[in-house]
């Protein structure tokens, strides 16, 4: 199983490396995004400081971490559907499914490179944040950070697998991915803390897993909270993961079977 996942990661790396400016343009994108939020902080940051006291940081530090972390969430939600669609359009999906490989292995292999790439992004965010802008990450509780990361990846990858089901069956139009990417970031506290929003939206935010993931990560990194102090946020992420992962794999198997029955695996 690991060999097969590694083969997929190697293949994805080689494909990306064949595009000469792929890495550079990605890192320039990170730099541009950091600069944007740095200047937003200069303009409006002081107005948000009252809402950020529980995290103990200014707006720029808050948003830099949440943006970096949101990369993982975006990969979890988007990479399965985008990879399935890319394989359909390239014409390689059938040849992949012809191999005697468990569907879970294919799905893991499809997403792993994107997670590795997202990790490079996060490291770049942290490097720039600490070196150029003097943000202090030294108080982070690494065990809490890793635990939050694992459950966030499982939770949002499950949503991503569910979203890939739409691509397998409907080919285009992926309402789940659209909903998560468009609204979760805004409502879930990625670009500004949830406390800034009107009470009604704060209620909505409370049922979204992203709210708990972002909040837990901010507290683990900037306040050094341990697992016990983050139990509420973690409990929510664990419940979501346990419910979503088996559901999403079953739904994917069902969608794959439906596409095989309809003979539409290669249609896009």
């Amino acid at each position: 199983m690991l060999n097969k996942i590694f083969a997929q990661v190697k293949k994805d790396f080689l494909i990306l490396a064949s595009y000469k400016l792929a890495f550079l343009s990605n890192f320039l994108g990170v730099l541009a995004s950091i600069l944007t939020y740095f200047f937003i902080d200069k303009l409006f940051g002081h107005r948000l400081s009252g809402h950020l006291t529980e995290f103990g940081v200014n707006y720029f530090s808050y948003v830099l971490l949440s943006m970096a972390f949101f990369g993982y969430i975006g990969v979890g939600v988007g990479s399965f559907s985008s990879r399935i669609r890319a394989e359909q359009m390239q014409g390689t999906l059938e040849s992949l499914l012809l191999c005697p490989v468990r569907i879970e292995t294919i799905l893991a292999g499809m997403a792993l490179w994107n997670f590795i790439f997202a990790t490079l992004d996060v490291l770049f965010y942290i490097f720039l944040g600490s070196l150029l802008f003097g943000i202090n990450f030294s108080g982070a509780n690494l065990i809490s950070v890793l635990t939050i990361l694992i459950f966030t990846i499982v939770c949002f990858s499950s949503l991503g697998i569910l979203s890939a089901c739409f691509i397998l069956v409907l080919k285009r139009g992926n309402p789940l991915s659209w909903l998560i990417n468009t609204f979760e970031g805004v409502i879930g506290g990625v670009y500004f803390p949830v406390a800034v929003m009107p009470p009604l939206l704060q209620v909505v935010a409370r049922i979204l897993p992203i709210t708990y993931a972002i909040r837990a990560m901010e507290l683990a990194v900037y306040r050094g909270y341990n697992l016990c102090q983050l139990k509420n946020e973690l409990l929510f992420l664990v419940i979501f993961s346990l419910l979503l992962l088996p559901t999403s794999i079953l739904a994917f198997k069902f969608s794959l079977r439906k596409a095989r029955r309809q003979g539409t695996l290669v249609q896009y």
Binding site: N3, F6, K11, L98, C99, G263
Partner: protein
């Protein structure tokens, strides 16, 4: 026939057209009449033999190959490969067969030929050394010396050969070839035919779907003519001549009889 490598019993498959936007807004969710891609197709293929499948466009040849290779599920009937049943033992079936489709796009064009083959070999469960040895062996068999070039630089003939090589990576018992010489010039078509003949001499069981009568009769031990999803004729050339009462007839004559009378 003793222990056939491939056995199909009354396999049928119909495709329903998708609902149009008009149907959806008028709440008309009734299924439209389906296209019958395969209609009660049955045949067997013995170890080491080549079965040529002939038929016009839309006769169901590709659907048949995809059903055998587990990519499409049949509506009814049974398919057994190596005595494993489709839809029950799919992983064992995938290990038992190799499909060389007519789709050149089924490779990663930004990778080299070797990188593509190493990737698929790993997906078939070969370790690094096994994969390298197998690729080397197949390159020697097919006289390939352009494996390190990027796949998108290959000619149509080279891509076809790679389709066959990929299907052989895990040394399957059954090889499914879908129009292997499609859109190739004479020289490359001949090369592919020589490869197929060579594989047959090595004992591979081959199912060859083609439009090319010469290719089918030259290479195949027996022939199957599909027309509108139905099995119109199946047997050796002599059996077909006898059945269609054409003692000196060519496959083209028998094909005409089949398709005109169907």
């Amino acid at each position: 026939m003793k222990n056939p490598v491939l056995q199909l019993d009354n396999v049928s498959k119909a495709f329903y057209p998708p609902l149009s936007f008009r149907d959806i807004i008028s709440f008309n969710f009734k299924n439209k009449p389906p296209t019958q891609a395969l209609d009660n197709v049955s045949f067997q293929l013995e170890e080491g033999k080549i079965l040529g499948i002939l038929g016009p466009n839309g006769a169901g040849k590709t659907t048949l190959l995809k059903i055998i290779s587990t990519l499409i599920l049949p509506d009814s009937g049974k398919v057994r490969v190596n005595s494993y049943e489709v839809n029950r033992d799919d992983d064992n079936i995938k290990r038992s067969l190799g499909l060389a489709s007519s789709e050149e796009r089924s490779f990663y064009w930004r990778l080299t030929g070797i990188q593509n083959l190493e990737f698929f070999a790993a997906m078939y469960g070969l370790n690094k050394n096994q994969a390298r040895a197998r690729i080397k062996e197949l390159f020697e068999t097919f006289h390939i010396n352009y494996g390190r070039k990027r796949f998108d630089t290959y000619s149509a003939g080279m891509k076809r050969i790679f389709l066959i090589i990929r299907a052989l990576l895990h040394n399957p018992r059954l090889l499914l070839l879908d129009e292997p010489s499609k859109s190739l010039d004479f020289e490359n078509s001949q090369k592919i035919r020589d490869f197929i003949a060579q594989l047959s001499r090595q004992g591979k069981t081959i199912l060859l779907a083609t439009h090319n009568f010469t290719e089918a009769t030259e290479l195949s031990d027996s022939l199957l003519i599909l027309y509108q999803g139905r099995n119109c004729a199946w047997g050796t050339m002599n059996e077909l001549r006898h059945r269609f009462n054409r003692p000196q007839g060519s496959i083209a004559d028998i094909y005409k009889d089949c398709t005109c009378n169907a």
